[in-house]
Every structure is written in C-alpha cells, then in structure tokens.
C-alpha cells in the first residue's frame, strides 16, 4: 500500500483560461475573470456577474477533441477538457500499465440541458433525437463520458456534496490508492452554469450583483462560476521515475450539523475538517505557508471560515486568499480548480491574491493577501471547501522533496 499520494498532472478550465498555462498567466495578471452571463438564455443574461467560460458548447466540444461523438452536456465537455489535460500533463501514455480510475464531482450534472428540454421530455407529442439527453441528466453520466475519454475506467464514481464535492473526490481518490484499489486516479470535478443554479442562489439571496469581495467587511455575496479541475494522483510505485508536482499530504471531512444551507458562526465543522487534515498529514498549523480559502464572499461563509481559521491559527495565520473573485464560485468544481491553484502556488512559489478586498472584517484577526506575491517558499498549502448540508472539507498539498 502506498503511503504517499503523488500529484503528477493538472488540468483546468474556468473563466480565467482553458488550460493550466492560460490560467497561470491570468492569475499572475491579478484581474478577475468574472464578466456578465452570456451563454445562457435567462432573465439574467448580459446582467448577472458570473465566472463564465467564454466558449459556446460547440467550441467546447471541439476543444475536448470529441467532435466524432454525439453532442453532450457542457458539464461533460468542461470535464473532458480538464481531465485530458491532466492525463497529458502526467505523461500517461499507456492507461493499461496501471489500474487507473476516475472520480468526478458535480452539483447538478446535466441540468444545463434538462432545464431546456424538461417540458419536451414530458410531452409525448414531441419526439426526436434529443430524447437521448434524458440519460445525461444523472450526475454519473458526465463522469462516465469523462472516464471513457481518457480510458480510465478501472474504478469510476461520482460525488455530490454540493460545493465540497470535488475536494471530496480528491480525498476519496487518495484513499482508494492507499487501500490498493487503484494505482492511479484522476480526481476533481466539473460544473456548468445553469438557470437552475442561478435561480436557486437568487432565491437564497446570496449573490452579489457586482464583483464578489471575499473576506471584505462589506462583502455582499458570491458570484457563480463554471469550470472543471482535475488532478492525477499516483501511488509511489506508479509514479516511480516521473516528475512529481506535489503531494497530497492531508485531507479531512466533517459536518457542521448546524443548518441545511448556512454555516455555523463558530465554524465548528470547518475547524474539525482542518483538524483531521492536520492529523492525517502529521503537519501542524505553523507548517502551512498559504491557505487557499473557500472564501465565497457571502456574509455567512466568510465569517464561519474566518472564525475557524482564527481558532486554528490564532494570531499566526499564514498567507491567505480566496481565489473565488478570479473564477466565481464553481460549486462542484471548485475543490478541483483550487487544487490546481494550490499546486501551482507550490510549483511557482507564488501566493495568488484575494481580489476586490478593501475593508478588514472586524471578527477576524487576519488580512488576506491582496497582491501577487512571488519568490515565496510555499511548502504546504491548505485548501478549504465547504458545501450545503454542512459539508466541510480540507485538503493539504505539500512540496515534494
């Protein structure tokens, strides 16, 4: 059984780039990828600020390199683009060499299509080739298409725990390697914007109608986003002789058990998740160089997370930023996307800034990093992801020596 979990490949697509290289360039430019909603016909089109991937479904299909296959959902295209990049980045040419699986995560799966065709599905007088989209609704459907696109089918599954989904897929994947069930696994998540999600968050009244301001005293809510992030995890045996980008050294999941959608003011669940991640990694809070916070920009999340971080780190909070102002909150994909950011932070000795921040939150003792910091020794990154249903997760990424 592998004791260490090596990260050998990264793949990403979001509002700030269609691949790792574009994403890193954008991060370094310190500007937001949040723009107005364009690709979805909605009451909020051309108005609502969102982190949208500026490509049509046809363009994404081409980018995914699956023009020969039937049309699929935007969630699937985004996932295939990121998963293929991660596999290529890991230098995997022969999938059969080791037992390889894929775990994806998503909050709404194929809802982007279901919401357009639902009434037609229910109308027996309407029929057509489009009926095959019925099967793309299930969350697991995008995962199977993604797994097949890279040939990683020795273990396939999907997690949906709202906004912590892809952090949990990374955690589950690492454990599958530790238990010897697979040797390598591609883990992360994918979510596309949909009217379902936009309207859902509208009813909760937690969307900012301007650019989100995580950890700012004047924050008004989150911006939704879309994208996919996948990383390749390998056992010590499978990764032998390969370039290792980082290690996944710790992980923890807990439940806030406070409210179905709201986080507890004391961040009890968040604290427990971080505590578990420290226990698994054998690290202590003072070892952390940078926290990539969940930091959505809602009043409740940032207070809850900020309080938990203050409790955990005291007056010695390391560099901390939320990158949600770059990408928007990509829901089921954010843990995967931010895992890529965390590994990039280690590899490029960089802290990515918390954009749009101005005013100190009175309830916390830390101030987020607001400028790009380079030439920093970033050895251990803590990445938090929290979701509805009190689901709280923390991952620790570490430099490989």
């Amino acid at each position: 059984m592998s004791k260490k979990i090596y990260i050998t490949g990264l793949g990403i697509i979001s509002a700030i780039g269609n691949n790792v290289e574009e994403t890193l360039d954008f991060l370094n430019k310190q500007k937001s990828g949040v723009s107005s909603l364009d690709n979805i016909v909605s009451r909020y089109q051309h108005q609502l600020p969102v982190g949208e991937v500026k490509a049509s479904n046809d363009e994404l299909k081409k980018l995914a390199g699956i023009e020969h296959l039937p049309d699929n959902t935007r969630t699937t295209y985004l996932g295939i683009i990121a998963a293929k990049e991660a596999v290529k980045n890991a230098g995997i040419n022969n999938m059969k060499e080791f037992r390889t699986g894929l775990i994806s995560a998503t909050s709404v799966g194929g809802m982007g299509i279901t919401e357009n065709l639902w009434f037609d599905y229910l109308n027996p007088e309407k029929t057509g080739e489009w009926l095959r989209y019925i099967e793309t609704h299930e969350c697991g459907d995008s995962t199977e298409s993604i797994a097949e696109s890279v040939g990683a089918t020795d273990y396939v599954s999907t997690i949906s725990t709202a906004c912590s989904s892809s952090a949990n897929s990374i955690m589950f994947g690492a454990r599958l390697i530790k238990h010897g069930i697979v040797d390598r696994i591609i883990v992360g998540g994918t979510d596309s914007l949909s009217r379902f999600t936009i309207n859902g968050f509208m009813t909760l009244m937690i969307l900012d109608n301007e650019h989100c301001k995580p950890f700012d005293a004047e924050r008004k809510g989150l911006n939704l986003g879309e994208g996919a992030g996948f990383i390749v995890l390998e056992s010590e045996e499978a990764a032998k002789g390969k370039t290792i980008l980082a290690e996944l050294s710790g992980y923890g999941n807990s439940n806030d058990a406070y409210h179905q959608t709201a986080s507890s003011p004391d961040g009890a669940g968040a604290y427990l998740a971080m505590e578990k991640a420290f226990k698994i990694s054998g690290l202590k809070p003072e070892n952390i160089s940078y926290i990539n916070a969940h930091g959505t920009g809602t009043a409740i999340n940032d207070l809850s997370e900020g309080t938990a971080i203050t409790r955990m780190f005291g007056k010695n909070v390391p560099f901390i930023s939320s990158t949600k102002a770059y990408t928007g909150h990509t829901l089921g994909a954010c843990g995967g996307i931010e895992a890529v950011f965390s590994v990039l932070a280690i590899n490029h000795n960089t802290v990515f800034p918390n954009l749009n921040y101005k005013n100190q939150m009175p309830e916390v003792e830390f101030t987020p990093t607001t400028e790009l910091l380079t030439n920093q020794k970033i050895d251990h990154v803590l990445s938090n992801s929290f979701g509805f249903g009190g689901n709280t997760s923390a991952l620790i990424f570490s430099r490989h020596n």
Partner: protein, 354 residues
C-alpha cells in the same frame, strides 16, 4: 476490508421497514410503477418539520432511525450514502417553477432540498452528528461506492460504526420521462410474471435502505460484508467471472462456497442474459434467487438486495417469493449479490453468516 451489519432497515414497495416480517406475504403489483410502503413518520420526525420535508428525505430519516435503533447505536462515526438521482421531487418542483414562471416568484425550499446530499445532511442535522459525511451519486455504483467508502473508513480505524445507506425515489414525471427511452415495459406485468417476461424494459421501483456497519460484531448482528467489486462496462461474461473468482480468492473461498446468489434479474430481455450466463454456468451449484420483482428497478436497488442477503444469513431462511427453483443448500454461509444497471455498471457483493 470487512464489516458487520449490526442493524438495518429498508423502506421499499414491500412491508419491510420494521424487519418484523421477511417477505412471507409479498405484496403483488400488477402495474409497472412500484411505490414504497411508508411508515407513519410521526414516530421519527417532528410533524412541523415533516410537513416541509420531501418524501424521500422523510423516508431516509425514518429508515436511518429504525436502523440505528436496530443496531442500538445512538451516534454513528460516519454517515455515507448513495443516490443516483438525489431528491428528485424537489428538483422537479424547482425546475417546473423556473420554466413556468420564467425565473420569477421562486422560493428557496425546493432548491435547498434538491441538493443531492440533503438526506445524509438532514440525518446529520437531526443527530447533531459532526462526523464524516459523504454522498455518492454514480448511477448503478451509487450504493456500492458508499459501501466501499464505509469499509475503507472502518479499515482505517476512523470509525467503529458507519451509517451507510442508499435512497432513490420515483416520481410520476420521471417515470414518464424514462418511459420515453425504453426503461419500462409497455405492457403491465404482474410481480411473479416479471421473470418470464420476454420483452424490453423493466418495472420502475424505489427505496431507502440503511445499514449500521460495525468494526465489531453487535448484539443484533445480521451478517458480515466480506467484499465488493464494481465493474464498469465489462467486455465479456468471462470478465465478470474473472472478477467473481478474484473476489472469492481474496477471501480464501471458491465457487462451491457460494450457497446463494441474488441476481438483479429485472425481466428486461435485452440484459437478463448476463444473469442467466452465471446462473446456468459458473454459479449453477448455488441456490438462485432474485429481488427486483419485489422492489422494482432503480439505480440503488442493490441496497434492497443487501437487506435480503443479510436477512437470509441471519434467519437461515430463503423466502419463496425470491427463489428460482429449489433451495439446494443448508446451512447458508455465503451469499453473493450480482447486479447491473442497464448492463453498464455491474457490481458484486459478498456477505457471510456470522
């Protein structure tokens, strides 16, 4: 990786939830849409709370509640569930409202409850359980993934007792939608005629099942989970056989040790051959049983099968309602469940008597 089943409960289209009867008088259905026989929820939920809750959430909470009492465990160390479609009724409600009202006048309740992890989250909330909480949503692997995670969690020493469950509901609308792509039979089939059906499609079902899995044997122990395997799109019957042999070999068992096999036979002539290949071939010496005529077809139906397998092992009785042919074996030590959803996601689950 192994664990004891120390408590259980399943809400299904049969009278199963309080474990007092083991399918001695099965409910016979003559339509292709089976709905659960639900308990009275006032025993498990505050009525004010229950009024606002979707049916599947109530079923999940009630089943988990009965299961915990059955195992005499007040606080699980982890809650891990599987559901392919999550909270379908609320998803449809919110979807309908968005389209019908052109994205106006919406209220958050159904959106909040539509989240796939609502049931596991609500159980945690009711119990104030801050422990590990995961929800798997992968079609025919949803329950199997939850089960594997549970076994791993116990093996890691992170939990003594894991509350593991599965839930999927059927709705009128989703029944109609799936009917359009051939999921269900066009003609009505009665419960005990399903196995002889020679047409495409199956019958729709639903259920909520919970199990208390323990690192240690509990007082009310039912069976032991020995292992499981999931196989995505096996290329041939031989590949499935290879996995069965591997699973048995890992446990020091052979084909002859399998006393009973529970097959996911669902009357769909397109796919049932995968079961008969084994029943009449590799596993021909084991007693053959089936279950989907009683619960209907749904992505997490293997959780209903695990309830049956655990009950067989504890009671040493195979109800007539599930037998294909005669029971050839006594005592019953090992039960194998073999299930597939649409011949894509295949799973094997091995249980032994305690």
């Amino acid at each position: 990786m192994e664990a004891y089943i120390n408590g259980l409960s399943v809400i299904s289209p049969q009278n199963t939830f309080n474990n007092s009867d083991f399918l001695s008088e099965p409910v016979v259905y003559t339509t292709n849409y089976l709905s659960c026989i639900e308990p009275s929820y006032k025993e498990y939920l505050n009525p004010t709370l229950a009024r606002r809750m979707a049916r599947i959430i109530k079923m999940g909470i009630a089943a988990s509640n009965i299961c915990m009492k059955d195992a005499n465990v007040a606080m699980p160390d982890a809650i891990i569930t599987g559901t392919a479609l999550g909270c379908l009724e609320d998803t449809e409600k919110f979807l309908w409202a968005i389209i019908e009202n052109e994205e106006q006048f919406l209220t958050p309740t159904s959106f909040i409850q539509s989240t796939h992890n609502t049931v596991s989250a609500q159980i945690a909330l009711q119990l104030k359980c801050m422990n590990y909480n995961f929800t798997y949503v992968h079609k025919g692997f949803s329950f199997e993934s939850a089960l594997l995670d549970s076994l791993m969690t116990i093996a890691e020493g992170e939990a003594q007792n894991v509350l593991t469950g599965a839930h999927d509901e059927m709705t009128d609308k989703y029944y109609k939608v799936c009917d359009r792509i051939g999921y269900w039979k066009k003609e009505n089939v009665s419960t005990f005629d399903l196995i002889n059906s020679k047409t495409n499609g199956s019958i729709a079902g639903e259920g909520a099942a919970f199990f208390m899995l323990g690192a240690q044997k509990g007082e009310n122990v039912y069976a032991k989970i020995r292992g499981l395997k999931t196989i995505y799109k096996p290329e041939s019957a031989a590949e499935i056989e290879k996995h069965i042999n591997q699973l048995l070999a890992e446990k020091g068992l052979t084909i002859n040790d399998i006393d009973v096999v529970l097959y996911g036979i669902n009357g769909d002539v397109q796919y049932d051959h995968v079961y008969y290949n084994l029943k009449d071939g590799l596993l021909k010496n084991s007693s053959a049983t089936y279950f989907k005529h009683l619960c209907g077809e749904y992505q997490t139906a293997s959780s209903f099968a695990m309830w049956i397998a655990a009950m067989i092992l504890k009671t040493q009785n195979i109800p007539h309602a599930i037998l294909i042919g005669e029971n050839k074996r006594k005592p019953i030590k090992n039960v194998l469940i073999y299930n597939t959803f649409l011949n894509i996601d295949h799973s094997l689950l091995l249980l032994s008597a305690c």
